[in-house]
Structures are given as structure tokens and as C-alpha cells.
Subunit: 204 residues, 2 copies
Amino acid sequence: MKRAKDENTEERILEAAKNIFQSKGMNGARMQEIADKAGINKAMLHYYYRNKQLLFEAVFKNAFSLLAPQLNAVLNEDSSIEEKVKKFTLNYITFIVKHPYLPNFIIQELNRNPDFILQMKNNEGFPNLDIFKKQVDKEVKKGTIKPISAEQLFIHILALNIFPFVAKPLIMAFTNVDEKAYKQLIEDRKTEVANFIINSIKNI
Amino acid sequence: MKRAKDENTEERILEAAKNIFQSKGMNGARMQEIADKAGINKAMLHYYYRNKQLLFEAVFKNAFSLLAPQLNAVLNEDSSIEEKVKKFTLNYITFIVKHPYLPNFIIQELNRNPDFILQMKNNEGFPNLDIFKKQVDKEVKKGTIKPISAEQLFIHILALNIFPFVAKPLIMAFTNVDEKAYKQLIEDRKTEVANFIINSIKNI
DNA sequence: GTCTATAGCCAGATAGAC
DNA sequence: GTCTATCTGGCTATAGAC
């Protein structure tokens, strides 16, 4: 691992590309804009990453590997469903607040090219529901939570956590709130969402 | 209202444009592809719609006015929260199954250009939460539902209904289901989602 | 109204000097 | 490794014949 004086060019490019691709998508991004942001010129982009597609893929894989393993981390640890839901909600929303473009970037690009995710499936840390599924079935049988399929519960959790970021403009318009109030809504959801889920599934 | 022999060109163009724009987005769509799909040539597109931007806007407004008023319709009618949630879930999922590209199209393009929604806000039928808000507050006070803000409940409802369509590739990969099983998951959600919400907010 | 041909531009990619 | 200059292709848009 060599350490350049300020920051090596390759890294600067990736950082700039992340920025542009995540806000504009593959189709909307311009190589020139990425070069400008990185403080170099277009030729350098090709020197390091061959072409736009490969540069994009580097960014995408990077983004994906930032989001996906967190699912696993919480889902597979040793705690109750209730604790998992609480922890996941708090962690995930906190994380996305810091990287608000990420979910939309991934969703948008996966819809453009669904095969993309197949390449990820082999990776270490790709979300796997097996453990979670067993746990849900067990807690249902034990009676600590109401009958629900692990898949549906998982979709509920993802939806409630991620959707508000993906549909931000829509939600701001419908609920008629400004930027500040929207931020507060999101902040509240860090606990609100977990309580909502637990209320629904918990047996008393 | 004139009725052309098969279908007038303007309409054919709009139909083709809808198809291409909704699956590829503004940036990904090609005028040539739209012309091909409509069975005419590029010059005609410009003859009828002046340029790509205007053609796109025609498609977008059309799509938006298909999705948005349904929110209002259910939210403002005269029935209990519980009935509204049930009806909305069933209606919305049923509708989106028939137009699966719609939500993602709208969300994607609004993120590309958030100001776009401001133009819609004046339209008749733009979702308005006033009535719903009063009703939620009233039912909370009465004790038929647990304390919750109308905005958060509204976001929950939207998220649970729409997210599975927007994030289809992601969900298919994580839950490890094929196309057929995914369809079944969605089908189940027509009642599953409503029950999940009601379970959570209903006082016993 | 509908077509063909083409103008004009812009973006990705490369050549080649330093 | 980094730059400038340029090629090449593709895309929106228009001109102009029918």
C-alpha cells in the first residue's frame, strides 16, 4: 500500500466519480464533469479506468458493498427479532442520512440493468436470509410474535427504512413540509419505524 | 373529438413515448427508439411535440395524473382509517401490478428534477392530507387507534405499498425468489400490508 | 402530414507530445 | 503519469421535397 503525498489520482477519480454518478446516474453523468471534480482531465479517467462503464462499475460495487453487508450484520447477529428491528432501523437510517444518494443510486441502476446484481451474489457479505428466516419461524411458533413470513417482514423493514429517502421529493410535496421539517420526520423515524413494526408483530 | 381510422399519430407517439420513457428514463430514452415503436420517423416526433423535453413532460404529467389522484380518492372518502388502509392497499397494489414501471419512473425523474413537482401542485387532484390529518388526530383522541402522526402513517402506507415495486431487483436477490415467487409475494401483500398496518395502530 | 437527408453538437475515447 | 488536440459516432433537431 503506497501512500501518495496528498492523495493518489486513482482515488481522487473514484471519489469524484462516486459523487457524480450517485447524483446523476450512469446516463446523466458526464466524463468531463467527473474529470473537473477530480481536478484532472478526461484522458486520465481512461488511463485509470479504461472507459465509462468500468468506472461506473467500480463506483457501483463500492456503493453496494457499503449498503448490503449491513443487512447481514444485523440480521445474523444473536438477538431477538425485536432487538434486531430496533437496531437495524436506528443504524440504517443514521447511515443513510449521511449518504442520502446511495439507496436511490443503487435502486435506479439495478432497474436499468437487473443482471448487475447477479455479479454481487457471489460476494462475501451478500445478504442472506436463512438465519433470519429460521428465527422468525421459531418466534412465531413460540408465540412471541404473530404469524408472518420472514420474507414479508423483511420487505416491510426495508420499505419503511429506505423508501422515505428514495421518494423524498414526492413525500415533501404530499406532506407539504420543507427541508427542515422533512429532516425532522426522518429523525423521528429512527425510533418510530421500529415501534411501528414491533407493535404490529408482537404478541402481548 | 375526432376519431382517426386506426388511431391518430399524436396518440401513437404518446403511447410509444410512454413505453420508452417509463422504462429507460429521460436520459436513457432515444427519440429514434420512440419513433420506431410508434411506427413513424423522428421528424414526426418533433412535428407534434417540438422537442424531447416537451414530449417527456407530456408523458410525465400523464403518468403523474394517473397515480396521484388515487391517493386523494381514498384518503378523502368517508370511512374509517382501518377501511381506508384496506381499500388503499388493495387498490394501489392492484393498479401498480398493471403499470409496474410507473412508480419508479416518477420517483427517478423527480429525483433528477425535484422542481418538477411544483408544477403539479396546482393541479386538481393533487394529494392533500388535510382531511386525513384531521381524521387521524380524531381517531387517536377517541382511542380507536394508537397515537401516531398522520404524516408518519401516510409515509408508512406509501412505503409499504410502493417500495416493493421500486426495489424489485433488490428484493428478488435478497429474498432469493424467482419471478413467479415474487409475483406471489406481491399478490399476498394486497392484504398482508393492510393487516400489518392495522395490527400496529389499532387499539384493542 | 409524412418522409429523407443532413446540419450541428456533444460526449466518449484515443493519439501522441512532454 | 499527465497533458492537449482530435477523431469518431451518435443523438437531437431542422430543412425541404412530396
